[in-house]
C-alpha cells in the first residue's frame, strides 16, 4: 500500500533495494548521554546499515539527532582500538605493545591488589562517563572504592543542580523536566539548543516555534537558537546575573509575579524584594549593555506567559565560578513566575526503578568522593578536578590517590588546567584507560583496554526520566569487531581476578537484563521485539495540584527564594552580581560551544560525522578581522594569557555572529593522537587554552570561560628545533 497514491514505476535498482532484508536490533544511543532508543539495521552480510529512532520512545519521539544517525561510524571507524595495549619501553622510548586480554587483565588485577595492600582500595579512582561507567562503578564499589567522579558534574551541570537543589530541594537532572512542548515562553540563558542537540529538547523547541511560543535568548553570540528567537539579548559575557536581577526587579516592582504561587509555595520573598529593589534595568544596562526597555519588554513577555514559561536551567554551566548563584537566579525567576510544577513550565518527572541484580553488599570505604570534595559541602557528586588534585602527592593531602581507571571520558579534552592534569597522571603508579578509540587520553595509560562499541554489546537497561517512565534495552546487533570486549565483561574479568566473583554472578550480561526484565513484568524476548516499554505514572500528576498542599523537599518545605542554607555556609543567600575580569588589550575571550553534528571529542574521527564537519573554525567578528587583517579560511594559532600556544592552527571564519570582544570555537577538536587518521591535527582544542579556572566556591565547579587568547598569524612552532 502506498500512502502517497499509486506509483507505477519501479526500476531494477530500486527493486533490489526494497527487497533487501534487514534485521533490526534494539539499542539506545551512546553517542551522547541522552540515550535515545533506536533500532540498528543490519543486512544479510552482517553490516550495520543504519540506525533509526524507536518510534515508541517517549524519550526521543522516534527520531535521532545527527550524531545518533551517524552512530554507524562509531562501529565502522577503522582507527578503533583493536587489542589491549601495554606500555613498554623500546630503545629508551615509551610506546605501547599489543597484549592479550589475559595478560592485560592479570596486570590490572595485580596492580590493583598491590595498591589496595599498600594504600587501601580508596586510592584507586574511577573517572568515568556514559554506559561503561556503570559496570566499573559496580566493580569499584565491590572492591571498596567509591573514589568516583565524572566530568559531567563539576565541568558540566553541577552548578545548576546545586542551585536548583538549594531552591527547590531537588536537582534538575537529565533530561531536564522542561515542558518546552507546551510552553508559551522559553528563555535560554546561553543554552544553545539547536547546536546543543539534546534530542527531545530540540524537537520540543521546534514544536514550541510551531505553537508560536516567544523565545528569548540571552547569548553574547548569535546562536542558532537566537536566530529563532523573538528577542535576542546580545549580552556582554559574564554579566547574566545582573540581567536576571533586573528582570526580578521589574517583575516584582511591576507586580507581574505569580502572587498566589509565591505566597503559597515560597519563602523569603520579602528579602528578595528588598534585595533586588536597587537592581533596576538602568543599573543592569551599564553592566550587560542591554537597553533598559529591552529588559522591561522581555520581563513583561515572560510574565504574560506565566506560568507557561521556562527560564531554562542550562546544562553546561561551569562558566565563571559564580555559576551556582547564576543557577539560583534562574531558579528564583522560575519561582516568581510560578513555572515549577506548571504546564508549559517544569513538569514533575518520573522514572521507573530497575531492580538491582542480586549481589553481596558493598564494603564501606574509609573515604570517598564526598571526603575529597568536603570543601564544597553542596556538591552532590564527585568533583573530577578535586580527584585529580588528590592524585598529586603533597603533605596536606588527606586522600592520596595512586591509580586511576578512566572509562568513557577523554579527560585530556574535558578537564581544564592541562598542566595539573599531566602532573597528576605523571605521579600515578598505575593508570588504565578503557575506550573505543585511540583518543588522546589513551596515550597516558599504562594499560589500554579496547571496549567494543554500544552497537556490539549489552549494557544496563535504560530507565528514562520523563513525563512518563520508560525503559529501553541495548542488544548487540553484531559481534564485537577486532579483539574488543564489552565493558560488563571487563568489569567481571577484573572482579574475578580480585576475588570478587560473588559480585558477578552471571556468565553473560544478558542474564542480568533478563532477570531484571522479568522482575519488571517483561522479558528480553518481548524487548527484542519492542525495544522500548512505556509505563504509566505512579507518582501523581504531572503538574502541581493546586487544591492540595505540596511539600517541596527543602528544609522549609517551600521554594527557598532566600537560602538559609547558603547563609549558614557563609555564602550569599541571595544572588549578587560580581564583576569578572575582562580581556586585556589584544586579547579576546575564548568562548566555546557545540556543533550539532559532533559530541565533544568523541565523534571527531567518526567517518560519517567527520564528513559533515572535519575541523572547528575560529569565529571572529569582522571588526577584529579588519584590525588584524584576517580573512575567512586563513590559518591562525592562538596563545592564551598564560603564554600557552595551541598545538595546531585553526581556520578563521569571519562572521557577524560573534562579538568583537570574544572568539568562538566548537569544543572537541585538535586531537593530538596520530592514530586518529581523520581527526589528528584538525582544528584547535579549546581545553588546551583553558589554563585558568574560576572555581565555584559552593560546589567546586570549574568555570572555564575566563580565558583570553591572542591571535597569531605566524606559525609559532616553526622555529622550534625538534
Amino acid at each position: 500500500l502506498n500512502m502517497f497514491g499509486a506509483n507505477s514505476y519501479l526500476d531494477e535498482l530500486v527493486k533490489q533495494n526494497v527487497t533487501k532484508k534487514f534485521k533490526r536490533t534494539p539499542t539506545y544511543c551512546e553517542v551522547c548521554f541522552w540515550k535515545c532508543a533506536a533500532w540498528t539495521y543490519t543486512d544479510e552480510e552482517g553490516n550495520i546499515q543504519k540506525i533509526i529512532g524507536n518510534e515508541n520512545d517517549s524519550h526521543c519521539y522516534g527520531r535521532l539527532c545527527p550524531r545518533g544517525t551517524g552512530g554507524v561510524g562509531m562501529y565502522n571507524d577503522e582507527d578503533r582500538l583493536k587489542t589491549p595495549l601495554i606500555r613498554t619501553t623500546i630503545n629508551g622510548e615509551e610506546t605501547f605493545r599489543e597484549a592479550s586480554w589475559e595478560e592485560a587483565l592479570d596486570l590490572i588485577a595485580s596492580k590493583f591488589s598491590n595498591i589496595k595492600e599498600k594504600y587501601g582500595p580508596e586510592a584507586i579512582a574511577l573517572l568515568k562517563h556514559g554506559s561503561p561507567g556503570k559496570h566499573l562503578e559496580h566493580l569499584f564499589k565491590a572492591f571498596g572504592s567509591d573514589t568516583i567522579a565524572e566530568p559531567a558534574y563539576a565541568q558540566c551541570r553541577g552548578a545548576r543542580e546545586a542551585g536548583f537543589a538549594l531552591t527547590y530541594g531537588s536537582w534538575v537532572g537529565s533530561p531536564e523536566p522542561t515542558d518546552i512542548r507546551d510552553t508559551k515562553c522559553l528563555v535560554l540563558i546561553g543554552s544553545h539548543i539547536g547546536e546543543n542537540m539534546h534530542n527531545s529538547q530540540v524537537q520540543e523547541m521546534s514544536d514550541a516555534i510551531d505553537n508560536g511560543a516567544t523565545i528569548i535568548t540571552v547569548d553574547p553570540r548569535f546562536s542558532t537558537a537566537a536566530s529563532k528567537s523573538k528577542h535576542w539579548l546580545a549580552i556582554k559575557p559574564a554579566t547574566d546575573i545582573a540581567l536576571m536581577l533586573a528582570w526580578m526587579n521589574v517583575i516584582i516592582e511591576e507586580g507581574l509575579y505569580d502572587k498566589e504561587y509565591v505566597e503559597k509555595y515560597t519563602t523569603g520573598f520579602n528579602q528578595l524584594k528588598d534585595h533586588v529593589s536597587t537592581f533596576t534595568p538602568e543599573w543592569a544596562y551599564g553592566i550587560t549593555t542591554i537597553k533598559p526597555e529591552e529588559i522591561r519588554k522581555t520581563a513583561r513577555a515572560m510574565a504574560s506567559a506565566s506560568p507557561s514559561v521556562i527560564i531554562h536551567p542550562g546544562r553546561h554551566v561551569s562558566w565563571y565560578g559564580d555559576d551556582t548563584q547564576r543557577a539560583r537566579s534562574i531558579a528564583i525567576l522560575n519561582a516568581l513566575l510560578g513555572s515549577w510544577g506548571r504546564r508549559g513550565g517544569f513538569y514533575f518527572k518520573e522514572s521507573i526503578k530497575v531492580p538491582k541484580y542480586p549481589s553481596p553488599k558493598y564494603p564501606h570505604p574509609k573515604w570517598d568522593w564526598k571526603n575529597i570534595g568536603e570543601k564544597y559541602p553542596v556538591a552532590q557528586m564527585g568533583i573530577t578536578s578535586e580527584v585529580i588534585k588528590c592524585s598529586i602527592p603533597s603533605k596536606d593531602n588527606k586522600y592520596p590517590i595512586k591509580a586511576w581507571m578512566v572509562a568513557g571520558t577523554n579527560i585530556t579534552k574535558s578537564i581544564p588546567e592541562k598542566e595539573m592534569l599531566e602532573k597528576a597522571m605523571d605521579e600515578l603508579e598505575f593508570m588504565v584507560v578503557m575506550d573505543t578509540m585511540p583518543m588522546d587520553v589513551t596515550g597516558y595509560a599504562d594499560v589500554v583496554l579496547p571496549e567494543c562499541t554500544y552497537l556490539e554489546r549489552y549494557d544496563d537497561i535504560r530507565s528514562a526520566t520523563n513525563r512518563e517512565p520508560s525503559i529501553a534495552v541495548r542488544v548487540p546487533a553484531v559481534k564485537p569487531k577486532y579483539d574488543s570486549k564489552p565493558g560488563w565483561w571487563v568489569a567481571k574479568q577484573i572482579g574475578e581476578r580480585l576475588g570478587l566473583g560473588d559480585y558477578f554472578n552471571y556468565d553473560d550480561y544478558e542474564e542480568v537484563i533478563e532477570w531484571q526484565l522479568q522482575q519488571m513484568g517483561t522479558s528480553l524476548d518481548e524487548m527484542n521485539k519492542i525495544g522500548v516499554k512505556n509505563f504509566s505514572r505512579t507518582s501523581g500528576p504531572l503538574y502541581l495540584n493546586e487544591n492540595e498542599a505540596y511539600h517541596f523537599p527543602t528544609a522549609s518545605g517551600k521554594i527557598e527564594l532566600y537560602s538559609q542554607e547558603l547563609k549558614n555556609l557563609g555564602f550569599d543567600p541571595l544572588p549578587n552580581y560580581i564583576k569578572h575580569p575582562e580581556p586585556p588589550q589584544g586579547f579576546y575571550r575564548l568562548n566555546y560551544g557545540r556543533a550539532p553534528m559532533h559530541t565533544f571529542s568523541r565523534t571527531a574521527n567518526n567517518p560519517n560525522l567527520n564528513d559533515l564537519k572535519s575541523e572547528n573554525n575560529l569565529w571572529v567578528n569582522p571588526k577584529v578581522a579588519r584590525i588584524l587583517g584576517l580573512k575567512t579560511g586563513q590559518e591562525v594559532w592562538l596563545k592564551n594569557q598564560d603564554e600557552i600556544t595551541s598545538n595546531f592552527p585553526i581556520k578563521v571564519r569571519v562572521t557577524e555572529r560573534v562579538r568583537w570582544d570574544s572568539v568562538y570555537m566548537v569544543h572537541g577538536f585538535g586531537h593530538t593522537n596520530k592514530k586518529l587518521s581523520r581527526a589528528f591535527g584538525k582544528g584547535i582544542n579549546d581545553t588546551q587554552l583553558i589554563s585558568k579556572v574560576a572555581i565555584d566556591p559552593i560546589m567546586g565547579g570549574t568555570g572555564m570561560r575566563g580565558n583570553f587568547v591572542s591571535i597569531l598569524t605566524e606559525n609559532p612552532h616553526k622555529n622550534i628545533e625538534l
Partner: protein, 177 residues
C-alpha cells in the same frame, strides 16, 4: 500526483541529520552527498539574520538535466521525481553542468547520482529518509496535486520561496520563510 518537499527554514537548525540519514539510507559513499546544508548570515552585530536550509535536487518541473541527457538515463516520472538509471548513464556530465543547483555528483562508480526523493521508500509508503529523521520536523513531503495534502496547505498558508527561480527550472522543493 506531483511530489514536492516543503522545508520550514524557521525551524531548521542546520543540524545535518538529513545529510547523514541520506548517506546511510542510500549508501551514499563517504565524501559524497545528495543533500547539504547552507547557512546565510545577513546584517551586522547585533542585528543579524540567519537562515539555515537543507538543500537537494529540486525535482524541477522543467528539468534541464533530463533534457540534456543524451541517453535518457536522466528521466522524470509521472509523479515529478527526476531519476538517473545508473546503467543507462555514460557519465558524460552534461546533466551536472545543466543543473543550476549543483545537485548532482559523479558517483565513484562512474555514473551520476543525486537525490531520488527516496523513491524506493515512497514505494513502501514511507517518507524520504531525510524527512523521517529531521529532529525539528521542519521537512514536509507529499502530493501538490492534492489540495488537502500537508504540503499544499503549507504553501497555501505560508510565505515561501524556491531557489534560483530565475533559472527557470520550476523547482519543487519549497522553503517556508
Amino acid at each position: 500526483m506531483r511530489y514536492a518537499m516543503v522545508i520550514d527554514t524557521l525551524k531548521c537548525v542546520g543540524c545535518s541529520d538529513c545529510v547523514v540519514a541520506c548517506q546511510t539510507e542510500n549508501n551514499v559513499p563517504i565524501g559524497y552527498c545528495r543533500d547539504w546544508i547552507t547557512e546565510t548570515v545577513n546584517g551586522a552585530y547585533p542585528s543579524i539574520e540567519l537562515e539555515l536550509k537543507s538543500e537537494r535536487c529540486n525535482h524541477c518541473d522543467n528539468a534541464p538535466c533530463v533534457r540534456c541527457c543524451p541517453t535518457g538515463a536522466s528521466h522524470q516520472l509521472d509523479n515529478g521525481i527526476v531519476l538517473v538509471t545508473a546503467d543507462e548513464c555514460i557519465g558524460c556530465g552534461a546533466c551536472i553542468e545543466s543543473c543550476p543547483y549543483d545537485a548532482r555528483y559523479q558517483h565513484p562508480d562512474g555514473y551520476v547520482d543525486k537525490c531520488t526523493f527516496c523513491h524506493h521508500r515512497l514505494e513502501k509508503g514511507q517518507l524520504p529518509a531525510c524527512v523521517s529523521v529531521c529532529p525539528t520536523k521542519c521537512m514536509y513531503f507529499g502530493d501538490l496535486d492534492d489540495p488537502n495534502s500537508e504540503v499544499s496547505q503549507l504553501l497555501k498558508n505560508r510565505k515561501h520561496k524556491t531557489l534560483a527561480p530565475e533559472a527557470g527550472t520550476k523547482p519543487q522543493v519549497y522553503y517556508l520563510i
